[in-house]
């Protein structure tokens, strides 16, 4: 085995993959959130549809999309593989285990929280990307595909609203551990900067997930 595959198949190498892809996916969340905030604009989706049209057809965006697919792929595969490996490394369980006295539940539940987010991701892609890419979506007054209309329609369904909100809560806890953990894995732990990284991660998790969760709720109550 070459030194590169050796590095990334070691326990620390696998963690580094998790941390780098995790931080990359955090940057994706920011882009996705900023774009989607246009859903709150009271213009019947004119701005959002124009943005959606651009994201769907711009060749640079469509190329970067493959990097995103790889980022998700590595993060999901490595996360599940590590969870299985770590479970096997423990072997048997304690008869009496009070691990809750020395650590946070969401730090211990990253695979479970990630799986909830993964399930949401599949439904989410089916709801929107699937329709936009593979179906005939009606066009708005400007000739753009009416992605806004898809959003309105999807969030009439209370099942989707609940699923989306629950998924954002899971994502929030996933990020509460994951954001600061990614820096620790990269060796970026310093008594001067770590408190700031932890505070930033806390704010990031809460704000990003709260804004995402507000979207289905807003559409269910005000736009359906």
């Amino acid at each position: 085995m070459s030194w590169i595959s050796n590095t990334f198949s070691s326990s620390i190498g696998r963690k580094i993959i998790m941390s780098v892809t995790g931080l990359f996916l955090c940057s994706f969340l920011v882009v996705h959130l900023v774009g989607n905030l246009q859903l709150f604009k009271d213009d019947n989706g004119v701005a959002f549809n124009a943005y959606s049209e651009f994201m769907g057809h711009n060749p640079i965006i469509r190329t970067i999309e493959w990097v995103l697919v790889l980022g998700f792929g590595f993060h999901i595969y490595q996360g599940l593989a590590l969870a299985a490996k770590n479970r096997a490394a423990r072997g048997s369980n304690y008869v009496s285990d009070h691990i809750e006295q020395n650590s946070k539940w969401y730090s211990r539940s990253m695979a479970l929280l990630g799986s909830i987010v993964l399930f949401f991701l599949v439904v989410h892609l089916y709801n929107f990307l699937g329709s936009l890419r593979f179906m005939d979506v009606p066009r708005d007054a400007n000739g753009n595909e009416d992605a806004y209309g898809l959003v309105v329609q999807a969030f009439r369904n209370p099942f989707y609203v609940v699923l989306y909100v629950v998924a954002q809560v899971a994502l929030c806890y996933h990020l509460l551990h994951g954001f600061q953990s990614a820096f620790q894995t990269l060796g970026l732990n310093h008594r001067k900067y770590t408190p700031a990284i932890k505070a930033l991660g806390f704010g990031f998790s809460i704000i990003v997930c709260a804004l995402f969760a507000a979207m289905p709720v807003y559409f269910f109550f005000f736009k359906s």
Binding site: A89, R90, V95, S107
Partner: protein, 261 residues
């Protein structure tokens, strides 16, 4: 008895102890009663009382590891009431005293659980995986000849202190035992950063971290997910900062060493 608390009353306890004949056997919890335990006893002395009882009855005594009973050797490793070295912070099992428990308590006692630490018998586990990790790189090369002058290599006090903090790791394995992933990262990080911080460790610096991490993986320990149970349960307070140092050392070594595998 000098220094003992005159108001302390002897305690009667119920012990739920993990009994396992050998590595291959399937173990299980067996319940015992111990009477007239002095609150001044250490946890291990309480187990001595249990074993005396068992011997008198002609039963097999409970096997458990211990050596110095002063909190420095790292041999005594028991999972007590769901916590490594018991519920007290910053203590080894031998330094845990029975005054921390109350009369009538039920105490569950189990061995460390990790695939890399197989149970030899009852509460005694085989921690030789740690020895093999140390053999893989936890040493420095020194010149032979006369003893070197004590202050020949100047080391700033702050660096010396940080290296010493890492060096306090007694290799007890509480980090592995309390980790949900049975990861040995805190142990390995303490050993790696202790030597990485000092000029004496520079010669083998890159090979050390590469070899020790490779050995750690080979032994079957899990991967760290930065949960922090290890540092919370460490009897000598090794901090998670050491794991960050280990990760840095590993990345730097892999990127720059001449080792092509």
């Amino acid at each position: 008895m000098a220094g003992s608390n005159p108001n302390a009353k002897p305690m009667n306890l119920t012990l739920k102890v993990w009994r396992q004949k050998n590595r291959a056997a399937k173990g299980g919890i067996v319940e015992y009663k111990v009477k007239d335990i002095s609150p001044d006893m250490s946890f291990l002395e309480m187990l001595d009382v249990l074993n005396e009882d068992l011997l008198r009855k002609g039963d097999e005594p409970v096997a458990f590891d211990h050596d110095c009973r002063e909190g420095i050797c790292g041999s005594c490793n028991l999972f007590i009431n769901g916590r490594a070295h018991g519920p007290e912070k910053g203590t080894t099992t031998c330094q845990l005293h029975m005054r921390k428990f109350s009369d009538g308590d039920t105490i569950t006692i189990e061995p460390w659980r990790a695939n890399a630490f197989p149970v030899n018998k009852d509460l005694s586990v085989d921690r030789s995986a740690f020895d093999r990790i140390i053999q893989a790189g936890g040493y420095v090369s020194v010149n032979t000849g006369g003893a070197p002058d004590g202050n020949e290599i100047p080391i700033p006090k702050e660096i010396a202190d940080r290296a010493f903090e890492a060096a306090t790791c007694i290799g007890c394995g509480a980090c592995v035992a309390s980790c949900k992933n049975a990861s040995a990262m805190l142990f390995v990080s303490a050993k790696v950063s202790q030597l990485a911080l000092l000029p004496q460790g520079n010669v083998e610096r890159k090979a050390r971290v590469e070899n020790m991490v490779a050995q750690m993986d080979k032994e079957g320990f899990g991967a760290c997910t930065n949960i922090g149970s290890c540092a919370a349960e460490c009897p000598v307070g090794i901090s998670l900062e050491n794991i960050a140092i280990l990760n840095r050392e590993f990345l730097a070594a892999k990127a720059t060493s001449n080792n092509l595998v």
